[in-house]
């Protein structure tokens, strides 16, 4: 048996190459297309890059002492500060205290805002009664309410919880309302023609349909709760992340402030991640192809 050797003449080769080029069009990397996905490796390396460059800029700035070291400590002094903070028990007391306040204030917001939001989004009567009022209160800057809250509720735990409540409730209420209004009218009509009463339609259609959106609203509102807990702890407290930061600043312990800020950021990041993954798991039925 004879195998015929493929004869590769120069013209042939270039022809083959041309052919190849024609069949597999040059895959242009289109990373800047609107809303288009990018490869996972690229996404992860860009995230790493952004954190790394922040670190490099910081290191470079402290090395050349662009800023006073008291305000911007060096990586080494931060490391020693971190070692100190993480071994001390106060950090965990502070985290626990802030968590309790956020938990209580936020939970109070959620249990009132969800049913009320569903009422406002479903009935014009409740909309007229409550929505303009909520919009009005929403625009009052929360820190400006501190004196009033102190007069009303004293300087104990309750006034701190109420501050978080005021800061999150009105925003959350309006977000829940908007989600409820986004439930397609067709879904309501079809459920009526299938024999559902108004109450059943609210429970089985409006609530179920709005749930993923409401859950995402919780994720956002939760973030604000952490902002307001720091504000609340500036009033009067004996422990808490915000309180400790204020105390450190009095003694110019900037490295420790930075560590506490880092802890706050990390808590937010972790909780956000938990909310997101829970959302994906609970609401797997959401059609992501449609807005």
């Amino acid at each position: 048996m004879q195998t015929t050797k493929p004869t590769v003449s120069p013209e042939n080769a270039s022809a083959a190459e041309n052919e190849h080029a024609r069949i597999t069009p040059r895959t242009r990397r289109k990373w800047l297309l609107l809303r288009q996905d990018i490869p996972g490796w690229l996404y992860r390396s860009l995230v790493t890059c952004s954190f790394l460059s922040l670190f490099v800029i910081w290191w470079w700035a402290t090395e050349h002492e662009l800023l006073n070291r008291i305000f911007l400590p060096t990586p080494e002094s931060m490391l020693t500060a971190a070692r100190g903070v993480f071994t001390e028990e106060t950090l965990w007391i502070d985290v626990g205290a802030s968590f309790m306040r956020v938990g209580a204030g936020f939970a109070l917001s959620v249990v009132i805002a969800i049913p009320l939001g569903i009422l406002i989004g479903s009935f014009r009567v409740f909309e007229a009664l409550l929505q303009p009022l909520a919009e009005f209160v929403r625009y009052i800057p929360v820190p400006a309410l501190i004196p009033i809250l102190m007069v009303l509720f004293g300087i104990g735990e309750f006034s701190k919880i109420m501050l978080i409540w005021v800061g999150t409730f009105f925003q959350l209420l309006l977000m829940v309302t908007a989600e409820v209004r986004r439930v397609p009218q067709d879904l309501l009509q079809v459920s009526y023609t299938l024999g559902a009463s108004r109450l059943e339609t609210m429970r089985l259609v409006i609530w179920r349909s709005a749930m993923p959106g409401i859950f995402d609203a919780l994720r956002l509102a939760h973030g604000w709760a952490w902002t307001y807990v720091v504000v609340a702890e500036l009033i009067a407290a004996n422990e808490g992340l915000g309180y400790r930061i204020l105390k450190f600043s009095r003694f110019l312990q900037t490295p420790k402030i930075w560590i506490y800020l880092l802890v706050l950021g990390l808590i937010g990041l972790v909780l956000d991640f938990l909310f997101r993954s829970l959302n994906r798991r609970l609401f797997h039925w959401v059609d992501t192809a449609k807005p």
Partner: protein, 277 residues
């Protein structure tokens, strides 16, 4: 079943003015009829269907179904919309038996054997429309045609006297549409409910219906009530029969008078081409 519609009219009042969507309209419909509503866009077909469903209240006139005044939605009158209205958080089966599950909670006195047969019926309807393998799928995993099939089965789960369909196949491609037409014929023969079917497709209307109601441009009212002379047994071959084509031409003339008038399309086209070059 008898449906009596008397002097039914609907007028919308909005900031921009008054819209007469449906002019006083009177007609009757009996058991097992398949009635298509044809008419130009915006003539009030959807409005009429909404009134029949009880989802909207008429400005004047009345609707009676078997002597009972229609003044709100009810499970006697099922509706299928052009948009996909499956509940995305329920599976195909859960969607299809949604009305039955409602009923179980509303009426504890119903014997469970009765409900079991109804649930069995929903299962066989899903098999009939070819969705037996998708009972546990979620709507996001279905094609448009499959979604509409589930929506139809769900509307039929209540065994409604009246099935109202507002351009149910409007969003589907031509081939799926033909499949759905065959399916509608099968279901109508099987369930024997009275159907009101809004469509823009004259061929679809003729092929499916026993009767065609033609609406005038807005404000809409019935200008023609045509009994479709083809029997109960039909197949796609019918669309090529001379009698079918004759009726189709007549209806086209009725709906698009511009085609009939001496409208010089080729001349217009030539002018457009010559000015653009």
């Amino acid at each position: 079943m008898t449906l009596k519609v008397q002097q039914l009219a609907k007028t919308y009042h909005s900031r921009t003015g008054v819209t007469h969507a449906v002019l006083p309209t009177t007609f009757e419909a009996g058991s097992g009829e398949f009635i298509s509503l044809l008419g130009p866009s915006g003539c009030g077909k959807s409005t009429l269907l909404q009134l029949l469903a009880g989802l909207d209240t008429p400005t004047a006139g009345s609707i009676h179904l078997d002597g009972a005044w229609v003044n709100g939605p009810s499970r006697e009158r099922g509706m299928v919309f052009q948009s996909y209205t499956l509940f995305p958080w329920l599976t195909v089966l859960e969607n299809a038996r949604f009305p039955l599950d409602l009923e179980i909670h509303q009426d504890y006195s119903r014997p469970s054997s009765e409900i079991l047969t109804e649930i069995g019926r929903v299962h066989s309807l899903l098999d009939l429309v070819g969705l037996d393998a998708f009972k546990n799928s979620y709507p996001r995993e279905l094609s448009g045609g499959m979604k509409q099939r589930v929506a139809i089965v769900r509307a039929l789960a209540n065994q409604p006297k009246l099935l109202l369909m507002d351009e149910p196949f409007g969003a589907l491609d031509a081939q799926t549409r033909e499949e759905m037409q065959e399916l509608m014929r099968l279901l109508h023969a099987h369930q024997k409910m009275t159907v009101f079917f809004v469509t823009h497709d004259i061929e679809e209307a003729l092929y499916l219906s026993t009767r065609v109601l033609v609406f005038s441009a807005r404000p809409g009212t019935i200008i023609e009530d045509i009994a479709v002379p083809f029997g109960a047994i039909r197949d796609p071959e019918l669309k090529f029969k001379p009698e079918f084509i004759r009726l189709k031409r007549e209806l086209t003339a009725l709906l698009h008078p511009a085609h009939e008038a001496n409208f010089d399309r080729t001349g217009l086209l030539r002018r457009i081409i010559s000015t653009s070059s």
